[in-house]
């Protein structure tokens, strides 16, 4: 299974990054103030990773990986940067991939990794 390319530091993220845990609760509210709640699906995790000061080879590797993933919708392996958990059912939720060239040999890009359920 493919793995999200690591940066030259050996890490898959840069600080700061954002993690979202999303639940899906449906609520039916009645006029008397009572309500019924139920859940539609399990919780999902999403990581928003903003990478800056990337070297050209890092950008090329990440861009190629992202293009391939978006074209084929392949699942890939992602290491949770906080818990260290190895997550094998991840997708990219970023389209299009925008690369900002901020200087000589320096570029930035953002990725959103979503754990598929």
């Amino acid at each position: 299974m493919p793995t999200l390319p690591l940066l030259r530091s050996g890490s898959s993220v840069q600080y700061p990054f954002v993690t979202r845990h999303k639940c899906t609760t449906e609520i039916i509210r009645f006029i008397d103030g009572s309500e019924q709640r139920f859940t539609q699906a399990g919780a999902t995790r999403t990581w928003k990773i903003s990478l800056s000061d990337l070297m050209p080879e890092e950008v090329i590797a990440l861009d190629a990986f992202a293009q391939s993933n978006l074209a084929n919708n392949d699942r890939f392996t992602f290491h949770d940067p906080v818990s260290g958990d190895v997550l094998n059912q991840c997708n990219l939720a970023t389209a299009p991939i925008e690369i900002e060239h901020v200087g000589e040999q320096r570029a930035s890009l953002s990725l959103i990794v979503i754990e598929a359920v």
């Binding site: 993690t19 999303k22 639940c23 103030g33 709640r37 906080v82």
Partner: protein, 261 residues
């Protein structure tokens, strides 16, 4: 029932924390496209906006696991307000307190605040007796119990217990009112707690203003009625928990807890 967890510092929230109380507004739309709104005063809500900054990995995992156990907005949980007195009827209304049968209690005594909410407790027997309140508070939090006492020859102690473990501190009296407190934590994994006073053999004490709070030291006394600072049907107000990781072992988030009061 799950309980909103404490941080490693034993604090339940970080300051500043915003607490708001609101009422439900119901709106009826008619077929003629008119709408009538009315305030439903019987449906009051309380909300706490909790902001957590620079939590470590363990605290983040604890809060995340709790959020996932609550399944976002789905399930209810227990929340202990760190700004309120956890005792119900701190005016010592006897129906809300439990006294051992050997204790003799006289109500309507002048208290430390100039009203008549103090009680005099006498123990004419050779065995210690307890005057306590059973609370829906988990034993593993850190609490401070405090009480105003009056009496010069005291053989009494502030008392807290959970299952088979107990703690306490001897009360020191004087000519007027003296406030004594004890801070304790980690009594047990039980979801309930007893807190109050233990009166020694052949002793007598006058007490008022009992307060139990989730803190390291006693705060200003807050009188309570049948409501206390333990909210047993709270929910998260959002289905998304967002963490911003600023650095290794440093994470921040925000969540809103709501409950009907």
């Amino acid at each position: 029932m799950i309980v909103f967890p404490a941080l490693q510092s034993h604090a339940i929230v970080q300051l500043p924390t915003q607490c708001t109380t609101n009422v439900r507004v119901a709106e009826v739309k008619t077929v003629s496209n008119h709408s009538h709104s009315y305030v439903d005063a019987t449906h009051k809500y309380k909300a706490w906006n909790l902001v957590f900054r620079h939590l470590n990995d363990v605290e983040r995992a604890t809060l995340t696991n709790f959020y996932l156990a609550a399944e976002g907005r789905l399930r209810t949980f227990r929340f202990l307000s760190p700004f309120e007195n956890l005792h119900r009827h701190s005016d010592l209304m006897l129906a809300y307190w439990t006294a051992d049968p050997q204790l003799l209690i006289q109500g309507s005594q002048t208290d430390a605040f100039g009203s008549l909410s103090a009680i005099r407790i006498s123990n004419p027997t050779a065995s210690a007796g307890r005057f306590v309140q059973l609370l829906d508070a988990p034993g593993w939090f850190r609490y401070t119990s405090s009480l105003y006492v009056s009496g010069s020859q005291l053989d009494c102690r502030l008392y807290a217990a959970s299952v088979n473990e107990s703690t306490g501190t001897k009360l020191t009296g004087g000519m007027g009112w003296t406030r004594t407190s004890v801070t304790f934590s980690g009594l047990s994994s039980s979801l309930s707690l007893q807190a109050g006073i233990e009166i020694g053999p052949f002793s007598e004490v006058t007490i008022c203003g009992p307060q139990l709070e989730v803190s390291a030291a006693p705060s200003t006394y807050k009188q309570t009625d049948h409501r206390n600072g333990i909210y047993v049907h709270c929910r998260f107000d959002n289905d998304t928990l967002t963490w911003e990781s600023e650095a290794v072992n440093s994470h921040s988030t925000q969540c809103v807890i709501i409950t009907r009061i």
